[in-house]
């Protein structure tokens, strides 16, 4: 009996150590970026244009570019993703079509981001001739995050009890009235969580935008969606690997990483907080 317990304790401790190790890794990584990057973070770093071949100055155009690209993606993805989820949950009858749509969504979710990049490159940049532009990048990111939004919205809709719908329909509400008043409001936190996570993911994506939207260096802010741009993620990549004076710009690179990481992790934390609060408040 004691041997049994000893074995159990040993295994549990191994598992606990493993988990702790992964936490440790995250903290070490974040600490690396904070300790190396905090020095360069300043108001001017965030709001200035890059200067002297990006060895000095700020990353303002990159931040702006990331915001544009991300906003563009979510503006397309949210309505279409939510609409798609509503159709699948509320309207579609189980059958061939739903199965095909489902497997399409599952497969979209699994497509590597670089393939999205190449797709965006082939379709938007080349075929539709949008060129290397915010539009091409946004559309590419939109397609990339669409499955995330659909899945999150679908889960959120399915989480609304059937009894709400029955109750409303039984009172003579139409299907759309029921969805609008009795389903969507209660699915909203879940949909929102999904949307925020999708935004975070889009903001951090690099490969697709390298092929569709960004330039190594662009000294001015984009003036229209047909302009190319800089973006934080790609900026980090270029500064870390492509710059002619890698060591000189390393502090700035750390700073950029810290900015990107703060944005993305804040969004993630926000999503987690919303979800936790909503789960706690949920009383049905």
């Amino acid at each position: 009996m004691n041997k049994k317990l000893l074995k159990q304790t040993i295994f549990f401790q191994i598992f606990r150590m493993t988990s702790a190790l992964v936490i440790l890794f995250l903290f070490v990584m974040i600490w690396t970026f904070i300790s190396n990057g905090i020095g360069v973070i300043s108001w001017t770093f965030l709001t200035d244009m890059p200067k002297r071949g990006m060895t000095e100055g700020g990353i303002f155009p990159a931040i702006v570019g990331t915001v544009y690209l991300t906003l563009g993606a979510i503006v397309f993805a949210l309505p279409i993703g939510v609409a798609s989820a509503i159709y699948l949950v509320e309207y579609a009858h189980e059958g061939r079509l739903v199965r095909i749509i489902n497997s399409a969504i599952i497969n979209l979710a699994g497509v590597p981001s670089i393939v999205y990049g190449l797709f965006g490159f082939g379709i938007f940049v080349v075929f539709l001739n949008f060129g290397t532009s915010i539009l091409s990048g946004s559309l590419t990111l939109f397609i990339m995050i669409l499955p995330t939004i659909v899945s999150a919205s679908r889960e959120a809709l399915l989480g609304v009890p059937k009894s709400f719908r029955e109750g409303s329909l039984a009172l003579g509400a139409t299907k759309w009235q029921t969805i609008r008043h009795m389903v969507l409001p209660y699915a909203l936190p879940g949909i929102l969580t999904g949307a925020i996570l999708a935004v975070a993911r889009a903001a951090g994506e690099t490969a697709p935008i390298i092929l569709t939207a960004v330039f190594f260096f662009r000294p001015s802010l984009p003036r229209s969606i047909m302009d190319g741009t800089m973006a934080l993620a790609s900026h980090i990549y270029y500064m870390a690997t492509q710059h002619h004076a890698i060591n000189l710009v390393r502090p700035l690179t750390y700073g950029s990483v810290l900015v990107l990481l703060s944005i993305v992790l804040s969004l993630n934390i926000l999503a987690i907080v919303i979800r936790t609060r909503y789960r706690r408040r949920k009383n049905w």
Partner: protein, 251 residues
Amino acid sequence: MPVKIETKDLTVSFGDVDAIKNVSMEIFTNRVTAIIGPSGCGKSTLIKSFNRMNDLVSNVKITGQVLLDGENIYGTNYDVVTLRKKVGMIFQKPNPFPKSIYDNVAYGPRIHGIHKKEILDKIVEENLKKAALWHEVSDRLNSSAMDLSGGQQQRLCIARALAVEPEVILMDEPCSALDPIATAKIEGLIRTLSRDYTIVVVTHNMQQAARVSDYTAFLYLGKLIEYGLTKDVFENPQNDLTEKYLTGKFG
């Protein structure tokens, strides 16, 4: 006796399975009709065909007719929304919306275009009174319906259904999730409401059927086995299956 609902050769199937087979019956105005039968006999399916809630199931097929005031509700031009306004429904598990007590009752009227505060106030009060809930909640209409007890929630659902001024109220095992005292209150309410409404109650509790109903229908494997005055069905059932079911001698 005026007939409110009449089914003619009603058959409801899900896929290949017939849940209701050739049921023809008349439901009388301002009477309580109980539908009893073993689990899976089609009781719920039967009443859900009275307000077309079965339509929500994807592979459902319905043949025959259901006449409400002589009009076929499965007719091509019949408006489901109007139907469900006329035929309210109370569900097995109390399903108040996670809104305030007031908004629960006001939900139906609002959906149907009533937005004036004074009118809504009146509707809410009137129907909470009808559902015998008013004196328990009149001081906290704006608190969440989810904080009410199970029995109160069910009465709130009844008030909510009454607020759209139905003529028929369908109840799908309305007390199965409630304790005996809450059950007694709902049963009393059913008797009171039967003065103004035609009520159809599905129940697996035979004693409840005996207590609240004027007429009792016994359903077995989707077929209407016996239908008649409750006192006759319970004292002297004509069909051997009914007898066996009522006395608990079911194999």
